[in-house]
């Protein structure tokens, strides 16, 4: 693996090495990321693009795992999620001048990411209307699972894990669009209802209702688990 390790570029910040399952502190308007985003905005305004890029690499390293998780849950295709995350970061940097620090950078960035994912879902739906899919998306990504992940398990456990994921994916796909968005942002993106409200434009109490209904529906669909 290390043989194929790409040469590290200047300004490349090491990606998060461990899955971020730990509780993250609730971001506020004055969080570190927000302050960094404001600095980048000022650097871009001054024309110091190299420095701005270096600083932005830090934001990329902080948010890319979470962004990939959200994008993958939306798109259920690793390659497409990868592209969506890249696009979102590039777009965020390109429009950093329009960033306002009234909301944390995370909220602003997640909004860009979600809009990109929704556009991709729409585009995919249009494609699927005309072209028959080559194979199931879940199966496609299953085949790419590297060793060290679920692929380490014995075949029976692998099969069970695959079935469980397929059921979960199917259940999430059956959620209403808003319920799915709210559930993903809260459950996979660790966002508070207030943040989700800022990202989606929904009322905060509406977000809570969608979250509750999503959880209830998922329990009904995956009832055997609970």
């Amino acid at each position: 693996m290390s043989d194929h390790q790409p040469a590290r570029q200047p300004g490349l910040v090491p990606a998060a090495t461990a899955p971020s399952r730990e509780r993250r502190p609730a971001p506020g308007p004055s969080s570190e990321d927000t302050r960094l985003a404001v600095e980048i905005r000022e650097l871009v305004a001054r024309g110091a693009m190299d420095e701005a890029r270096d600083r932005f690499a830090g934001l990329v390293a902080t948010h890319q795992r979470r962004a990939s998780r959200i994008a993958y849950q939306y798109l259920r295709d690793a390659a497409e999620a990868d592209e969506a995350v890249q696009d979102a970061f590039v777009k965020a940097f390109g429009h950093i001048a329009s960033y306002r620090d009234a909301w944390p950078f995370e909220v602003w960035f997640t909004r860009i990411l979600i809009n990109g994912c929704l556009d991709r879902r729409k585009a995919r739906a249009r494609r699927e209307r005309w072209f028959a899919p080559a194979d199931d998306v879940g199966t496609r990504d299953e085949a790419r699972l590297p060793f060290g992940g679920v692929a380490q398990l014995d075949p029976e456990a692998q099969l069970l894990a695959r079935e469980r994921r397929a059921r979960l994916s199917s259940a999430i796909d059956r959620l209403d669009g808003r319920q799915r968005t709210v559930f993903m942002l809260c459950h996979y993106g660790d966002c508070t209802p207030r943040e989700v409200s800022a990202m989606t434009g929904l009322n905060e109490s509406t977000v809570r209702v969608h979250l509750f209904r999503a959880a209830r529906k998922l329990r009904a669909l995956l009832g055997a688990k609970s």
């Binding site: 300004g11 990606a15 090495t17 690499a57 993958y72 890249q86 970061f89 459950h187 209702v209 209830r216």
Partner: protein
């Protein structure tokens, strides 16, 4: 799923779960109730277990797909793309010969000017050639030649015929302008259809009679 009046509503349980996972303090009345009510605590545990399982499964899947190596590659690609963001668009250089010629507004209109000049020249030449070919003398000559060639007998019969006039300048001199113009009209009005010319030659015309009487 409707909450009982004595117990916590399901939506409260969901809120408690997400607040707890984010590390936020629970709503005090709800926390108190969960601590006291065994039924609600059981429901809360069931809900937490279910949502934790969902989360664990999803995280395991994503972590297996997005490895550290893959995230590093993704980060490199993002930074590579960011380098292009601030750069202006690349201009493709044209060949040296074309580039050395300054492109001015006047140069940009060269082709239309040439076209206009060519069109004017063509018009002038056309008018000049047309004027030459349709000149009265030439028309008379060509018309008479045709008539003479086609109807030799008629040419011989008509004494003041244009053919005779051409071949005998002394006769032309003696005819006044009116007669000349009448002959010209006569030559032009003659039928050009070959089949009708013999009949025309046999038919006496008022002008011929007038000319002969003079």
């Amino acid at each position: 799923m409707i909450g009982r009046s004595d117990h916590l509503h399901d939506d409260h349980l969901v809120e408690c779960y997400f607040a707890d996972r984010r590390g936020e303090a629970l709503d005090p009345p709800s926390a108190e109730h969960l601590a006291d009510c065994e039924a609600c605590e059981t429901r809360y545990l069931e809900l937490s277990t279910f949502l934790n399982d969902v989360r664990t499964d999803a995280d395991a899947e994503v972590d297996a797909l997005f490895t550290t190596e893959r995230l590093r590659t993704q980060q490199e690609q993002i930074l590579r793309r960011l380098e292009q963001v601030s750069r202006s668009a690349r201009v493709i250089s044209f060949p040296a010969q074309s580039a050395s010629m300054p492109m001015t507004a006047v140069a940009g209109r060269v082709a239309p000017r040439w076209l206009a000049a060519a069109a004017a020249a063509g018009l002038f030449v056309g008018v000049a050639v047309g004027g030459t070919l349709l000149a009265p003398g030439r028309v008379q000559q060509s018309g008479s030649t045709m008539r003479v060639a086609n109807t030799p007998s008629a040419a011989a019969r008509l004494a003041p015929s244009p053919a005779v006039l051409v071949n005998a300048p002394s006769v032309i001199d003696s005819i006044d302008d009116d007669a000349f113009l009448m002959q010209l009209e006569f030559a032009l009005e003659r039928p050009h259809t070959q089949e009708l010319q013999p009949f025309d030659a046999l038919t006496p015309h008022v002008r011929e009679i007038g000319v002969n009487n003079r």
